[in-house]
């Protein structure tokens, strides 16, 4: 029983990371109906950037914000916030750049073309990751103490670490902020309108190009945040990370209902749990196959996903 709960906790933590990335997929798909193949690799580069900023030079990083365990909490918080800001801003810029250069010229092309372009971008980004980070995993030492936070409550069989709490502390506010942005602000309304009908939105005064650009920027920022969390929680990065996470996050987005923000988060939590359960009770070798199987099953049997509807409701 304890094992199960432990597995579920791990699944939840990873699920939150998947959620940040899944939102990027779902936002972009909702607005231009493009499966942004390269999004997972943006996340990977975000994690590489975080690695480089945090890891000390002895480990290959630049050691700018070398966060070591033992740093007092206030300082730690500030450092993390700064790195978070840098990661989010950089990946947002990267994503904006990719949209501008690779996808926008193909806005009116048959859907095959931007999809293939996205694959090309994914290859490019992966190779950049390979060159920057090398062929093997790069790991950082855990920044947070690894004590079991549940110990004072007398629970010793289930472990909840500070870094897991960190995942929640970073991701949940971001999710809330996003939800507010899309639901309540003018720009968010513009995004929803463009998702439903770009031509009419344009006629109503929405700057469609800008709205799409902002969507990509937000997606990039989310990926950057996820990259940092990946480093702080899972403590490693590798150039193929985007492929693995991309699959999980994209499946999550589809499972929840592509184009649906709440669905992406829900799907991500489910996929996180499935990953954890599969890794523990089946075998990590088969986890990828299982996730793919879910993806195929959803697309074939219920392509609108669990929560159906698009970013903008269809009447």
């Amino acid at each position: 029983m304890d094992q199960i709960i432990q597995t579920l906790i791990i699944g939840l933590a990873n699920g939150l990371i998947y959620a940040l990335v899944a939102l990027g997929y779902t936002l972009v798909y909702g607005i231009i109906e493009l499966i942004n193949f390269a999004h997972g690799d943006v996340f990977m580069l975000g994690s590489m950037l975080a690695f480089v900023l945090i890891a000390p030079p002895s480990n290959g990083g630049w050691g700018i914000f070398s966060i070591e365990s033992g740093t007092p909490l206030p300082l730690l918080t500030i450092q993390i916030l700064i790195v978070l800001a840098i990661c989010m801003a950089s990946m947002a810029t990267l994503n904006w750049f990719i949209e501008r250069v690779a996808y926008r010229p193909l806005r009116h092309a048959p859907k095959l073309a931007p999809l293939i372009t996205a694959i090309g971008v994914s290859f490019i980004l992966q190779n950049v990751g390979l060159i920057l980070g090398g062929a093997y995993q790069r790991t950082v030492d855990s920044v947070f103490p690894t004590d079991n936070l549940l110990a004072p409550f007398g629970i010793t069989n289930i472990v909840l670490t500070a870094s897991q709490v960190l995942v929640a502390v970073v991701t949940i506010p971001i999710l809330v902020a996003l939800s507010w942005f899309v639901g309540k602000t003018r720009q968010g309304r513009a995004m929803r309108a463009t998702a439903q009908d770009p031509d009419t939105a344009g006629l109503m005064g929405v700057d469609v190009n800008r709205t799409i650009a902002i969507t990509f920027i937000i997606g990039g920022a989310l990926a950057g945040a996820a990259g940092l969390v990946q480093i702080l929680y899972n403590n490693y990065t590798v150039y193929t990370l985007g492929v693995r996470f991309g699959l999980n996050s994209f499946t999550a987005a589809v499972l929840g209902g592509i184009g649906n923000l709440q669905g992406a988060v829900l799907g991500a939590l489910v996929i996180g749990e499935i990953n954890a359960i599969s890794d523990r009770y089946v075998s990590p070798n088969w986890t990828q196959a299982i996730v793919f199987g879910i993806l195929i099953a959803v697309l074939v049997f219920k392509p609108t996903g669990l929560l159906g509807q698009q970013l903008a409701d269809r009447a």
């Binding site: 109906e33 493009l34 499966i35 690779a102 010229p105 193909l106 009116h108 092309a109 048959p110 859907k111 095959l112 073309a113 931007p114 999809l115 293939i116 372009t117 694959i119 090309g120 971008v121 994914s122 290859f123 490019i124 980004l125 992966q126 190779n127 950049v128 390979l130 060159i131 699959l247 994209f250 075998s283 070798n285 088969w286 990828q288 196959a289 793919f292 199987g293 993806l295 195929i296 697309l299 074939v300 049997f301 219920k302 392509p303 609108t304 269809r314 009447a315």
Partner: protein
């Protein structure tokens, strides 16, 4: 319209008569082409003859020259054989993506299945289960495992792969293009995973009279793979076409490519080709004109897949071994690049794309990195950059020349950057000209009852 004869009899005699007369017409047609476009005919003839004698010339002079005098980026026998292997695959993928317009991102799965069919049917592997069947195989007495000759292996590979293609396609081909792409991608990832993981299978299953009990059974060899695999063999001349036979294997590969070209061309110039073209242009209109779109797409998918099956079987037999490491997602994309770059919808384009890309990947890039490594070791190593190059290639091609270099005229018209805007206006079609979507404008078909639109807006324009 050309190529059909007016008076045709019945039965096999007539068929041989037709083949004979077609072959006999070639000299006449060649002469006509020579008169019409002299330069082009001469160049193509040189190219053809050059490719045919190149393997021999290479092994007789050039290899030695390149080794001892000046190193040249010349493809060697292995590379050339792989050119033929990938040519077969890209001709096959061209049927799926070029003729029928279906984006298959998991083509490597069929390649892998073909290779493992060869591995199962022409190696000692099944000897561990006590299954020893030798039938026309090229092995000594007392050989363990199953040993069938290559032509049987290839036929079985075709059947197995086509079956898998049909099974995969049946529920998924009605999906929108981008969803189909993702599903095929998933399939392309799962199949190699199966081959990798089934190296140690433990099952204890009992249901009524059916009981299966396997304990740590090595079904697929996993990462170590299966070897040795029997090479293709010609009994009369006692010739073997494996990795040690030099140019012979290249010629065998060329022979397979020739068959592939003929099959693809025949399909293109038949009711299948017209049906595929119609579906690609406007699937709804095609369906309304009586084309059974589901069955036609399924045929494209399964037939195209079987080419990869043959390629895989040949590859495994040629190398004498196979392992799950050979089959990755990037291979699917590589073949796709060959088709797109070479020219989508055109057999010759696919062939050219395959030759070019294998050359670049296996010969040119390693050569350049070696030279750079010799001259300036500090500079980055280009062969580490091959995916960067392919990625850039894809992005640039899609932006500026999505139809490739030698596209079929139809695809050129549909895809060329000018063509994209034109098609709409010319046809008076309301809504987005969507090469991928299967619905009339405004309708979103993503699954089950794709024929019932949900709002009257979606019902416009039919």
């Amino acid at each position: 319209m050309s190529g059909t004869t007016k008076v045709i009899g019945t039965g096999p005699g007539a068929w041989f008569g037709f083949i004979g007369s077609t072959l006999a017409s070639y000299p006449g047609r060649y002469r006509a082409a020579y008169h019409r476009r002299r330069t082009r005919t001469i160049l193509l003839t040189i190219l053809l003859i050059g490719s045919l004698i190149y393997p021999v010339i290479h092994s007789v002079f050039l290899a030695g020259f390149s080794r001892n005098v000046v190193p040249l980026p010349l493809p060697d026998d292995t590379v050339m054989t792989f050119m033929t292997i990938f040519a077969i695959m890209s001709i096959g993928l061209n049927i799926v993506a070029g003729y029928a317009g279906l984006l298959d991102l998991g083509y490597v799965a069929f390649y892998a299945i073909g290779a493992y069919v060869a591995a199962f049917l022409a190696s000692p592997h099944f000897g561990q289960f006590g299954i020893d069947i030798v039938f026309l195989g090229h092995v000594g007495p007392g050989a363990v495992g199953i040993h069938l000759p290559f032509w049987i292996v290839a036929i079985v590979a075709i059947l197995v792969v086509a079956t898998f293609g049909a099974l995969l396609g049946a529920p998924t081909l009605r999906l929108r293009g981008d969803y189909l792409a993702i599903v095929t991608l998933g399939f392309g990832e799962i199949v190699p995973l199966f081959f990798k993981n089934l190296s140690s299978v433990t099952i204890n299953f009992a249901l009524g009279p059916l009981a299966i009990s396997l304990s740590n059974v090595n079904l697929t060899g996993g990462v170590q793979g299966i070897n040795p695999i029997d090479p293709p063999f010609l009994p009369i001349l006692d010739v073997v076409f494996d990795a040690r036979s030099g140019p012979l294997a290249v010629y065998f590969g060329m022979f397979l490519v020739l068959i592939a070209i003929v099959v693809a061309r025949n399909l293109d110039l038949s009711r299948m080709g017209r049906a595929w073209g119609a579906i690609r242009e406007d699937e709804t209109a095609a369906e309304m004109m009586g084309v059974n779109t589901v069955r036609t797409k399924l045929l494209a998918f399964a037939l195209g897949a079987s080419f990869a099956g043959v390629a895989g079987a040949f590859q495994a037999s040629y190398l004498g071994a196979t392992t799950s490491d050979f089959f990755e997602f990037s291979t699917s994309i590589l073949v796709l690049i060959m088709v797109i770059l070479g020219g989508i919808g055109n057999v010759w384009g696919a062939l050219a794309g395959a030759v070019m890309l294998v050359y670049v990947d296996e010969t040119l890039l390693p050569y350049v990195s070696q030279r750079i490594g010799d001259i300036a070791p500090a500079l980055p190593n280009p062969s580490q950059y091959n995916f960067l190059i392919y990625g850039v290639l894809l992005v640039v091609m899609m932006r500026f020349r999505p139809q490739g270099f030698l596209p079929s005229r139809q695809r050129e018209a549909e895809l060329s950057v000018h063509g994209l805007a034109d098609a709409d206006a010319q046809m008076g079609i309301v809504g987005e000209f969507d090469n991928v979507g299967v619905a009339p404008p405004g309708q979103d078909e993503t699954g089950s009852d794709s024929r019932t639109p949900e709002t009257p807006d979606e019902a416009r324009d039919l």
